[in-house]
């Protein structure tokens, strides 16, 4: 799933700027599961912003001012129009919308509410999974041409720091990548797995250069499923 982290309150305050009425919008899907932008995080962020804006507004020694009016609301998924319809009135009433959705959610809000000024409260980081409670790691680079069948189910594009197809490089040591001892060497993992399944001969074949056209390198991607589209009458 999509893994994100909340931006610092400092950065969020900068993005919200002078706006008086702020709507914090949480998302109930990926960012809930990685504890970055779900309903609780939206409520905490809203309270934090209210409190901070009151403390900031008064010069030193004076009592805190009234601060900003910050509300929070959470939708099931920020990336689907139907869920956004539910909060249209809330969005209209705000000067600024602070989206705690992933980058997709932020953009969906802007596309669905073009009159709204929406700023991101999260840094969307990667596609990954929780390896244990509280730890998420990258697994997929969305290259558009999945080769997991070749490498025993371990992705060298996402998990090898150099995205090698004929790895490992000379920097693999004790199963770790040269860039950081906390990063596994993907090719050690691939080697061990293929070895355990007696499929090492796969590693002896020279993999040709990757076709990066299906990846982001080829330009922003789009998928159209004609079998699923609605006709004009149906819309």
């Amino acid at each position: 799933m999509i893994i994100a982290e909340r931006k610092s309150l400092e950065e969020i305050k900068g993005l919200v700027g002078e706006a008086e009425k702020v709507l914090v919008v949480g998302c109930g899907t990926c960012v809930t599961v990685c504890f970055a932008g779900g309903a609780r995080e939206a409520a905490i962020t809203a309270a934090s912003l209210r409190m901070a804006s009151r403390l900031d507004s008064g010069p030193a020694g004076e009592p805190a001012g009234n601060g900003k009016a910050v509300r929070d609301v959470t939708v099931q998924r920020q990336c689907e129009w139907e869920y956004l319809d539910e909060i249209a009135e809330d969005v209209k009433a705000a000067d600024v919308v602070l989206s705690l959705g992933c980058g997709i959610g932020v953009q969906a809000m802007v596309e669905h509410f073009p009159e709204a000024w929406v700023v991101p409260g999260l840094n969307t980081s990667f596609l990954g999974l929780p390896t244990e409670q509280g730890v998420w790691a990258e697994r997929c680079a969305a290259c558009g041409d999945c080769i997991l069948g070749l490498t025993g189910g371990i992705c060298p594009i996402a998990r090898c720091s150099k995205s090698l197809l004929n790895g490992p490089c000379g920097g693999s040591e004790n199963g770790h990548c040269e860039i950081d001892p906390g990063v596994d060497c993907a090719w050690q993992l691939i080697y061990d797995r293929l070895n355990s399944m007696n499929r090492l001969e796969v590693l002896l074949e020279l993999q040709p250069p990757k076709n990066w056209r299906t990846a982001r390198d080829g330009g922003p991607r789009k998928i159209v499923r004609e079998d699923l589209r609605l006709s004009e009458e149906e819309v």
Partner: protein, 172 residues
Amino acid sequence: MAEREAGVAREVVVEAAGQEQPEAERLQIVAYCCQYCAYAAADLAGQLRMQYPPEVKIVHLPCSGKLDQLLALHALEAGADGVMVIGCLPGDCHFLRGNINAARRVEGLQQLLAEIGLEPERAQMFNLSAAMAAAFVEATQTMVDEITALGPSPLRRNGLMQKEEDHDNRGA
């Protein structure tokens, strides 16, 4: 400052240049107390006629692990000068890990407060057992002393803490 017995009505007059200090202006510290240890210790203190500071208001939780950061955050937003979370001694939580979770949440809350611009010391965790009435009193006194040193919360409005119902998280 004069101290009062637990459970007795709280109108207190503090002699300070002959002025009356109304209840609402006194420091307000919310103590989230777990049923099995903290609340029991507070109860015991009452039975033993031990006095703890009237600034401390007890909120009864089944377990300190029930504490939600939002709960404490809203109290502080409303103008509470400090929040205490009091749970069982390490290893003795009736629900096994509740006090451990509470401790981590209080730590997280302190970091949140620092980000917001409030002193992190306004949120603190204490641990004691049901028999430790004196420790309960000492904890509350310690908290009052530390908060006194910090001063009233800058988030009080006109020097007052908001009542729960005035605080609406859907608007300022």
